[in-house]
C-alpha cells in the first residue's frame, strides 16, 4: 500500500478523528458509551454503514446531479442503516436492544453524511472505502475508549469483568457522566496535541456555530445571514 493510501486511514484515526478533533456525531457518542460492549457495537455498526455508503456514493458520483445529491446520499445511507438493523436484530438481538433508537439514528449521524459529501463524492471507490475504514476506526476507537472509562469508573467492570476494588461512581454511567467524561477527554486530547506542537502553543480553538456543523461545508444557503446570526 502506498504512503498516500495509508495516510487516508491514519487521517481518520488521528489527524481528523471524528469525535475528538472534528467534534461531530456527539449524540451516539454520549448516549451509547455506558459500557465497552455498547460503544464497540455502535462503532462497528457505524463503520459498516460508513464504508458501504462511501463506496456506493463514490460509484454514483458522476451520475448524480449536483442539486439533488444530498437527498440521494441520505437515501443510500438510510438503505444501509435498514440493512444493519436487520443484521443486528438477527445476530445480536441483545446489543440491538441496548442501542435502541440509536441504530436508526445512524442515518442522521453527521459523520456519515459529512464523509459522503467531503470525500466520497470527490474520490474513487477504493480511496472512499479506505476513508470509510479510517473514519469508522477513529469513531470506534473513541467510543470504545469512552465506554471503557465509563464502565470501569462507573460500573467497576470492563466488558463484564470486575476490575476495581473501590466503590464505583454510579453518576459516570448516568447521563451527566457522559457529558462530563467526554468534556474532560476532549480537553485532555487537546492538551496532549498542544504539547506535541510545542510547549506554549495554544491548542486549536473549539469550533462553534456553523464551523461545528457537519453540514457547514455544503450548507451554502444564507451563509451570510448565518454568520451574522452567529456573531
Amino acid at each position: 500500500m502506498s504512503q498516500s493510501k495509508f495516510r487516508i486511514i491514519t487521517n481518520g484515526i488521528l489527524t481528523d478523528n471524528p469525535t475528538f478533533v472534528q467534534c461531530i456525531g456527539l449524540c451516539p457518542t454520549l448516549a451509547v458509551t455506558t459500557s465497552v460492549a455498547n460503544g464497540l457495537g455502535m462503532g462497528i455498526a457505524a463503520t459498516f454503514v460508513l464504508i458501504a455508503s462511501n463506496m456506493v456514493i463514490s460509484l454514483l458520483r458522476k451520475m448524480v446531479p449536483d442539486e439533488v445529491r444530498i437527498p440521494i446520499f441520505i437515501v443510500v445511507i438510510a438503505g444501509f442503516v435498514t440493512v444493519i438493523e436487520f443484521l443486528m436484530k438477527g445476530f445480536a438481538p441483545e446489543l440491538n436492544k441496548s442501542l435502541g433508537i440509536f441504530i436508526p439514528l445512524i442515518v442522521v449521524n453527521c459523520i456519515i453524511l459529512a464523509r459522503a459529501e467531503a470525500f466520497a463524492s470527490k474520490n474513487g471507490v477504493f480511496e472512499s472505502a479506505l476513508d470509510g475504514i479510517g473514519m469508522g476506526l477513529g469513531f470506534t476507537i473513541a467510543l470504545t475508549f469512552l465506554g471503557s472509562i465509563r464502565e470501569i469508573f462507573g460500573g467497576g467492570t470492563w466488558l463484564g469483568m470486575p476490575v476495581i476494588s473501590f466503590e464505583p461512581a454510579m453518576l459516570i454511567v448516568l447521563a451527566p457522566g457522559g457529558f462530563i467524561i467526554l468534556g474532560c477527554c476532549m480537553g485532555a486530547f487537546r492538551a496532549i496535541q498542544a504539547r506535541f506542537r510545542g510547549i506554549g502553543a495554544t491548542p486549536a480553538e473549539a469550533k462553534t456555530g456553523c464551523g461545528c456543523c457537519a453540514m457547514a461545508k455544503f450548507c451554502n444557503r444564507d451563509k451570510d445571514e448565518c454568520e451574522e446570526a452567529k456573531a
Binding site: 467534534c23 461531530i24 456527539l26 449524540c27 454520549l30 448516549a31 437527498p71 441520505i74 437515501v75 438510510a78 438503505g79 442503516v81 435498514t82 438493523e85 436487520f86 435502541g100 433508537i101 436508526p104 439514528l105 442515518v107 442522521v108 449521524n109 453527521c110 453524511l113 453518576l171 448516568l174 447521563a175 451527566p176 457522566g177 457522559g178 457529558f179 462530563i180 467526554l182 468534556g183 474532560c184 476532549m186 480537553g187 485532555a188 487537546r190 492538551a191 498542544a194 495554544t202 491548542p203 480553538e205 473549539a206 469550533k207 462553534t208 456555530g209 456553523c210 461545528c212 456543523c213 457537519a214 453540514m215 450548507c219 444557503r221 444564507d222 445571514e225 448565518c226 446570526a229 452567529k230
Partner: protein, 195 residues
C-alpha cells in the same frame, strides 16, 4: 390515554426525560448554536415548530401507509424522506407567507433535517406505540424541553465566555460539555416528580 396521563407525559417529556440532557438527542445544535442566547432561542423555536409538524406527518405515514402495506421495516427511510421534504416545504411556505418569521427561523431550517432530535422523537413515538394525541403531546413536550435546555445553556455560556480562569485546552466545547453535565445533574432532580 386519559387526560391525566397526557398531562403527566407532557411534564415528564419536558423535565424528566429531557430530550437533550437525558436522552442525548440533538446534541450537535446544543453544542454548536448555544453560544448566543438570541440564536439559541431562534434555533429552539424552529425545532419546536418542526418536531411537532414532523411527528404529525411521520405518525400518519407510519399508521396509514407503512402498517397497512406491511412495510414497517422501511420506517427509517420513509421518516427521513418525510422530514426532509417537510423541512423544505416549511422553508418555502415561511418565505412566502411570513418573511419576518422566516428571517428569524429560516436560517436554522436547513440544519434541522439532519438533527437527530426530529427523527428521534418520531422513532420514539413509533416504538412506544403512542396514539395521535399522545404522539403530539410527546412531541410538543420534548421540543419545549429542547428550547428550555438550549436557552439555559446559552445563558450560562454567555457568562463563562472570556473567563480567564478556564485552562486553554478546556475552552469552548469541552467546557460546554462539562456545563451540560452539571445541568444534567440538576435535571436529574426532577426524576421524583412523576411516580
Amino acid at each position: 390515554m386519559t387526560f391525566t396521563e397526557l398531562v403527566l407525559l407532557f411534564i415528564s417529556s419536558i423535565f424528566v426525560h429531557n430530550i437533550l440532557l437525558s436522552r442525548f438527542l440533538g446534541c450537535c445544535p446544543f453544542m454548536g448554536v448555544s453560544s448566543k442566547l438570541k440564536t439559541a432561542q431562534g434555533m429552539g423555536a424552529a425545532v419546536v415548530f418542526v418536531i411537532v409538524l414532523a411527528s404529525l406527518m411521520t405518525w400518519l405515514t407510519y399508521n396509514y401507509l407503512l402498517v397497512p402495506l406491511h412495510l414497517e421495516y422501511l420506517y427509517t427511510l420513509s421518516f427521513i424522506l418525510v422530514i426532509a421534504a417537510l423541512v423544505q416545504f416549511v422553508e418555502l411556505a415561511l418565505k412566502k407567507l411570513n418573511p419576518v418569521l422566516y428571517k428569524s427561523l429560516g436560517i436554522f431550517l436547513p440544519l434541522i433535517t439532519t438533527n437527530c432530535a426530529v427523527l428521534g422523537v418520531a422513532v420514539l413515538n413509533m416504538n412506544e406505540g403512542y396514539g395521535l394525541a399522545a404522539a403530539l403531546v410527546n412531541a410538543l413536550g420534548s421540543s419545549l424541553g429542547f428550547l428550555l435546555a438550549i436557552s439555559l445553556m446559552a445563558g450560562i455560556r454567555e457568562r463563562i465566555e472570556g473567563n480567564d480562569g478556564i485552562p486553554n485546552s478546556l475552552r469552548g466545547l469541552p467546557m460546554a460539555l462539562i456545563t451540560a453535565g452539571l445541568m444534567s445533574i440538576a435535571f436529574m432532580g426532577f426524576t421524583g416528580i412523576i411516580k
